[in-house]
């Protein structure tokens, strides 16, 4: 059953569909949360909040806007950042944290592929001009919205968006190279 079908069924209060969605995506969302919060207990709290919000239909996922994984990533990121903000904690500036890019403790075969992609991504991120790199780091890992990221970096919103766009093009190109190699 596809994610979309699962979500449809969840809207119709199908408990089994919810269980399936949980089994399929909860580990991933938990991984995202842990990357930000570095606390097993807190990660699981946010994980629960997100899935119960999905169950309650309060999150409004739109399949035509993004993939479910991507959407879950941003929902989880947003909630984790809220929590960090609430407790006056911040993710540090500077290099992208290793554990934010995942850990090498899952399926070895999948991990090998993921590890290669992380390496490429990391390398591509490192090669970005400083201001583009900061823009990506802020938008993806520190600020819940573009507006707040722009405020954090002290640049206009439009400038931030163009930096993100440029950076993303370069990252996409790096990914394309990897895929063509594969």
């Amino acid at each position: 059953m596809t994610d979309r079908e699962l979500l449809e069924r969840i809207r119709a209060r199908d408990v089994d569909a919810f269980d399936a969605l949980w089994d399929r995506h909860a580990p991933y969302v938990n991984g995202v949360c842990f990357s930000f919060l570095r606390s097993k207990e807190e990660s699981e709290e946010v994980l629960q909040e997100i899935f119960l919000a999905i169950w309650d239909g309060r999150l409004g996922y739109q399949p035509d806007k993004s993939s479910l994984t991507s959407w879950l990533f941003f929902i989880a990121k947003s909630r984790c950042l809220d929590r960090l903000k609430l407790s006056h904690r911040r993710l540090p500036h500077g290099p992208i944290p290793d554990d934010l890019m995942g850990r090498d403790d899952s399926d070895p075969e999948l991990e090998a592929s993921a590890s290669e992609r992380r390496k490429v991504l990391r390398s591509a991120l490192d090669k970005l001009p400083q201001e583009q790199r900061e823009a990506v780091m802020s938008c993806f890992f520190r600020s819940p919205t573009y507006r707040e990221a722009a405020q954090e970096l002290g640049i206009p919103l439009g400038t931030l968006k163009s930096r993100i766009r440029l950076a993303m093009k370069k990252l996409a190109a790096a990914l394309a190279d990897l895929e063509s190699d594969e």
């Binding site: 596809t2 979309r4 209060r13 408990v15 919810f18 949980w22 909860a26 580990p27 991933y28 938990n30 991984g31 995202v32 842990f34 097993k40 990660s43 699981e44 709290e45 994980l47 629960q48 909040e49 899935f51 119960l52 919000a53 169950w55 309650d56 309060r58 035509d64 806007k65 993004s66 993939s67 994984t69 991507s70 879950l72 990533f73 941003f74 809220d82 609430l86 407790s87 006056h88 904690r89 934010l100 890019m101 850990r103 090498d104 403790d105 899952s106 991990e111 993921a114 992609r117 992380r118 991504l121 993806f140 993100i164 766009r165 950076a167 993303m168 093009k169 990252l171 996409a172 990914l175």
Partner: protein
Amino acid sequence: MMDPNQHEHFENLVLFAVLGALGDEERNDLDRHIASGCKECARTSQQFDSFPRLMIAPLAPTDAAREGLKAAMRTAPADDHAQWDELISLAALGALTDEDRSRLDAHHADDCTACSITTHELSRASDMIAESVTPIAPSAAVTNAVKRAVRAEVVAVPSGSVRDDIADTSSPSPRCEIVGRGDERRTLEALLDRLRKGDGAFVSIVGEPGVGKSRLVDELRRLADERGIGILSGHCASDARTRGYAAFIDLIRDWADIDEESDENTRRARLHSFVTALCNDRADEIHAAIARLMGIDSGQAPAGAATATPTAQAISGLSGQALERKIHESTRFLLKQGAGAQPLIAIFEDLHWADDATAELLEAIAPLVEIQALMIVAVSRPDHEEAGARLVSFADEYLRMRHTAIRLAPLDQRETLVLGRRLLQTEELPAELSRSLVEKSAGNPFYVEELVRAYVQSGDTATVARDSASGVDELILARVRALDTSARTTLETAAIVGLRVPKRVLADMIGNSVVLDAALDVLDQAELLERQDSRQTSSRRLALLRKEATYVFRHALGRDAVLASLAPDQRRELHLRCARSIEALFADRLHEYYGVLAYQYSGAERLAEAQHYLSLAGEMAAKCAASTDALRFFRDAYATYKQLPGSSADVAVEARLERNIALALLNTGGLHESIEHFNAALRLNGQWVPQSTIALAAKGALDMVSILSRLYTNRLGRATARADVRERQVFELLYNRCRVQNIVDDKRRAVDNLAAIVHLGHLNPQEIENSAGIFASAGAFFSFAGISFDPGHRFLALARNAADPGDDKDAFLYRSMAFVVNYLQGNWGDEHQIDDELLERGLRYGLFWDADVYLGLFCQRNSYQGRFALASEQIEKLEFLCDSYGYEFARSNVHAETATLLLAQRQLGAALEAEQRWYDQRNEESLHLLALGLRARAQVLDDRLEDAAASLQTADDLLKRSGARMFPYYAGFYHTARLALATARIEQATDDGRSVTSADARHARKLVRRACANARSCARDRGDTLRLAGRLEWALGNKTAALSQWAIAREECERLGALPDLGRTLADMGKALEEADDEWRAKAGIPPDECRTRAIELFKQLDCTWDLEQMGDDVRRKRRVA
């Protein structure tokens, strides 16, 4: 430029265009070719070879090419998947409208999405980042909890939805969406929108039972949740008054997600991590106070904090009002931090049942709504003066601009019928039922629901009419009677337990879990009882599911109806079973249930147990500074004790109850009343408490002799015998009675202090808490009373020995009382000053009286030393003591020391105004004498001699009325003012050339002797007294005596550092010597010019403009005379 049909060239041309190689004219030309090519593509759409050319369309300078793509889509056969795949891949490169995209969506695979190339790029990169996170499997416990939460909700009736089985007459009727309340919802929505922008609010929702308060609050929660606003809830159950701060405990437990079933260490650790996240630097201190509020303070450092910080330790030593203030301030800070991070709503439901501590704390935090994104929602029934109505009045008075009052009225006729139709899911109600709904329910939605349920259950309107004849209670009971026996028994048992019923208590009382589960299902179906988690937001539901199952009555009216239907014997029996179950099930944390147990045993009419638990509940409330609740518990305990049969009477128990009431009164400000209970407790402990003045004086004298003899034979403070419990209790009573007497009763103060010292003299001071304090106070007392400074110092030495070196409380008590002794004696060096840090620690221990005394006297010393700025600082500290700790006695000291400072600066008008405020605020004779003396002194200086005489006459009347000897400190201004008035009159007479009678002279010298005697015991008045004595003698012609007095005055002022009085003495001398002949000038040892010069220097240095003007006036007067 080229043939429009040569499409193969297009791609290269477009690339040039993208690269900016083309000019405007060439680009327009290119556009035309693209448009033409697109049209051809559309026409020959079967020829897919031409399609790749359209790949360039999105990169073209205009939208023309995209039109071609759309044309191709329009002509593509619906079942030609190959074509559509091609189109989809092309579309991925182009910016299509939503309509175009939806057409593509109909054909593409589920995991494909049509989007622009930029979005595609961004999405790929985002996905790449998102996917690179390594999954971590959540724990099995969390997985199970979430899945259970979801399943539980499906099993229960979803809130706000209508059940499918409504047509089944065997089922009760459901709830439905909120009906009416449009204005209220709009008001709340507007407030929530303002809250998101940072504007706080205080909302009171008031309505009769069943009118829909909870439903409106549910709606508010939903609206807030939609807006991303944090929701906190605190609930007051009908038995909330069984524990202080009940609503706040509920709210913080919910907010911090503390599982009440976990052990105390776990709960404290959880609270600590929660508080740390919000409060940063102040975390330990705030945690200590909040843990105390929640009754999970065992005095140890929480897990996560290595050791308790000094601040947290200091809080553990607080009690009474000091602790209460600290808890209020800490809760305010916690909410401030929370609202600073995210807009918050704090909902307090059923406040009509609130305990006193909750109501007081709510008042303390309410002003936060003026400065924070915080909305406080107070929900209550009307006409509960002590809680709900009190808060509405408070908000009206103090938060007028932020207060929104919502008074829920009954539904109108139309709304009533709409509600009925919705509940029955029908377009038309039976006529009889409509009539019943309108006539019987009077617009009360709960009543409407019950009527509909009755109709659904019975299926005929006649039964509804019959059952509703006696009101809503009868409707509920009719449904209860229709239940099977086990469900009915379960419901009756639950009603005894309370509005919220832990399942395990029910299980213990019912004794058969299978029967219980079945009964609970029936009651859930009947919507009489429901699981606590079924009406919550998802996260709250989850939190509750992880915890113990608890059932709540669907409505308090339901519980009331069931309770009222129980026979007295049945009630008693159930209350007793409930109490026994709680004792058995919660033995490890029984302290949280003291109030509940008292309630249950009272209901079971087991008076001894009820009294026992009422006392314990009071002690628990006192421990977390819920002083008013503590007093209520103790009074109830005392009343219950008095109902016990005579054989059960126990003097020790009664003494303890009297002592508890006295302490609770002390903590709630009932000082005069507390004395009666202290005395009663002392009598019950076998102590003689004299009542008549003669008996009092006799006891005072006896105690004095006993103390001095033991003090001077080195027997005091040397007892080594262990003190038993009773002796300790007696000392505690005496000590605390002294604390009260220090404020309320001048006459008894000395006697009670002596009694405490005598008692302490028999005990080993090292073993007795507060022994250092009582010795230090005794030292201050002997000095204050003007008896002698020597015993004062001896007592201070005893206090120093008895003090625990590491105890800030002992240290502050000793240092503050040592300051008193030295100040009065005239040791005005800075070594006696207390540093701010120790002062602050003293305040944290609640040593307000001692801090107030110290600050007042330190202020005086600075005023008399001419350190006016430093004196002003102490006045500010007194104001802080009053404002921050609510110690109102400090307010009068603010006025007193302001008046003293202004008098020292000779700002006479302002000094008199401050003195008047001081006088008006106090009733104590000693303080009135002090104020009247200061008033008269200022009036003499202002040359208002008749007014001064009148003030002194009032003081004389007071002294006659009182009959008591006033301590030198209080009489000081009175004596100097009398001397100043006599001196002024004699000087006036000599200036006018009138003779001074010998009687007047004798009287004046008598005043000098009295004033000097008084000043020996109170250094403050020495400079002024000696200077006035010199002036008087000079005016009387006794110049030798005058010079002698002035010499002593100068010497003493220099020793004390009393610069203003030194300057004034010099000025007086200078003025006198200028008119004297050379012989007297020589005898004075200082020329008049030098006196004047030095006086002027001092006055300029101290900015004493009044004195400078006086000296100028003297010069001008002299010139006029010349």
